[in-house]
């Protein structure tokens, strides 16, 4: 009977073990995380998710149209040079390889503020939907970081003067609203950097230069 008792005990342990493994995995899943959020936080999360999913849905529709255009071109036996050229321009504009123009805002940054403060501003502009950004005329790509102490800011090996201007292409109303709302980033920075002044001006047409960076990987290999 010793063997049976042993089997029962092991089964019990295995069940418990399985349960705990699942619990452990669930803990790393946003679902478990969400159960701990307050109602206010959840409301913001739901609003954000639904908004972002709409953007993703629009992107899916755009890409599906692109596929059917390419299919149509293929069926005609014609080349899809126009589609290819358009797609190339879109990707180069988006990644910062080509100059772009559009409406947006100029953010004049004057006084004592360090790189972390400027990046907080850049992060907020990205969150508000800025499509392209520059600092003192230097295009900001993913890897561009404004760094340094208040008296010696630089980006991409370029020293930033004081004051300098951040430019962001996007909806000027949305961008301005996001920066200047009550308790927003401009208000927060005014507390952290009392010596700094941040001025936001809507502009009808901005022209942002291409990045000087080589965006082809030197160490990584594409996984196709």
């Amino acid at each position: 009977m010793n063997a049976t008792r042993g089997r029962v005990a092991m089964t019990l342990v295995a069940v418990l073990l399985g349960f705990l493994v699942v619990l452990q995995i669930r803990n790393q899943d946003p679902g478990a995380q969400l159960s701990n959020a307050s109602t206010e936080e959840l409301t913001v999360i739901v609003a954000n998710l639904s908004d972002r999913n709409d953007q993703l849905r629009t992107e899916v529709a755009t890409l599906e149209r692109e596929v059917s255009d390419l299919d149509a071109a293929k069926a005609r036996g014609g080349s899809s040079l126009d589609e290819l050229t358009r797609d190339l321009a879109k990707l180069r504009d988006w990644s910062g390889l080509d100059p772009v123009a559009g409406p947006g805002i100029q953010v004049t940054v004057a006084g004592a503020i360090d790189g972390d403060g400027v990046m907080a501003l850049v992060n907020e502009l990205r969150d508000a939907g800025a499509e392209a950004l520059s600092a003192d005329g230097i295009r900001l790509v993913a890897a561009s970081v404004v760094a340094g102490p208040a008296s010696g800011l630089s980006v991409e090996d370029h020293l930033l003067p004081s004051p300098f201007v951040l430019e962001a292409i996007g909806s000027s109303d949305t961008l301005t609203g996001a920066l200047k709302r009550q308790g927003g980033i401009v208000a927060q920075l005014a507390v952290t950097y009392p010596e700094a002044t941040i001025t936001v001006t809507p502009v009808d047409r901005l022209l942002l230069a291409a990045t000087g960076r080589d965006l082809q990987p030197a160490h990584g290999t594409p996984r196709l």
């Binding site: 010793n2 092991m10 073990l17 705990l20 452990q24 803990n27 790393q28 899943d29 946003p30 969400l34 159960s35 701990n36 959020a37 307050s38 936080e41 959840l42 999360i45 954000n48 953007q55 993703l56 849905r57 629009t58 992107e59 899916v60 890409l63 599906e64 692109e66 596929v67 390419l70 080349s79 899809s80 040079l81 290819l84 797609d87 190339l88 321009a89 990707l91 988006w94 990644s95 910062g96 080509d98 100059p99 772009v100 409406p103 992060n123 990205r126 499509e131 900001l140 790509v141 993913a142 890897a143 760094a147 996007g170 909806s171 965006l215 990987p217 160490h219 990584g220 290999t221 996984r223």
Partner: protein
């Protein structure tokens, strides 16, 4: 006194197996308790309708992102096969492939680093500054920026690729990166030169970060240097609504049929 191995040999085999299983159990319980760090600070009740909605939206989002990756692949292969003989198409396709890589629409692997950030273990000393003991959006932003400055060429956080339009935002709980809410542990994967870790370690900014967050508040920061780091492709919108291309003499000339 019999030696330990001899005593183990003398035990029935099921007891040994049970012992090993119990050891694993103990380990898991400990891991479980650790995982319930300072972030569990609201009473956990039944899942509210809001949580259900958020979870449904998250799974919608996963499906949408999978669809975007699938469509991007489909477009790339349709473009590659379209009228392949013409030299112009070939050079356009090469340019497109390079642009996709530049835009982060292609996964990369290579040498690099994985930095893991976890909430401080154990309850926060007081509820007032509980958030100081949890990983914040600002923490992630600093680590990403320090990695870029150290020479990283591609970065992702828990699988979300960092692109020119990526914002890292926190609202107190989970952290929003691109379109996704991410939960700890946060793994920041970066591809870069083989001395990326040395460069990061030499950075004053990173040392300040460790001092301010790991030493003062117990935020867990660990680094691993696997043989190969993979940074996945960006699955999100690359559509520009406000930006228009600027015609320039060097731009690819328009092609008439």
């Amino acid at each position: 006194m019999t030696s330990l191995p001899a005593r183990i040999r003398a035990l029935p085999s099921w007891q040994v197996t049970l012992g090993v299983a119990l050891l694993a159990l103990g380990f898991l319980i400990a891991a479980q308790l650790r995982a319930e760090g300072p972030r569990v600070r609201y009473t956990t009740q039944e899942r509210s309708p809001l949580v259900e909605t958020a979870l449904a939206l998250t799974s919608d989002q996963d499906a949408l992102k999978a669809r975007i990756l699938e469509l991007n692949d489909e477009i790339a292969s349709l473009q590659a096969e379209g009228a392949g003989s013409a030299q112009q198409v070939k050079s356009l396709n090469d340019a497109l492939e390079a642009a996709r890589v530049a835009a982060g629409l292609v996964a990369l692997s290579g040498p690099g680093l994985v930095i893991q950030l976890t909430d401080a273990s154990g309850p926060a000393p007081s509820a007032a500054n509980a958030s100081d003991y949890a990983v914040t959006g600002h923490d992630l932003r600093v680590v990403v920026e320090e990695l870029w400055l150290a020479g990283a060429e591609a970065i992702a956080i828990n699988g979300e690729r960092i692109t020119p339009t990526t914002a890292i935002v926190d609202i107190g709980g989970p952290i929003l990166v691109n379109s996704a809410y991410l939960a700890p542990p946060f793994q920041v994967s970066a591809i870069g030169p083989t001395d990326l870790f040395d460069r990061l370690s030499a950075s004053v900014g990173f040392a300040d970060f460790l001092q301010a967050r790991a030493e003062t508040f117990g935020i867990g920061v660990s680094a691993a240097e696997p043989d190969s780091v993979t940074v996945p492709a960006y699955a999100g919108s690359v559509t520009l609504r406000y930006s228009k291309p600027v015609p320039s003499p060097s731009a690819t000339p328009g092609v008439s049929p």
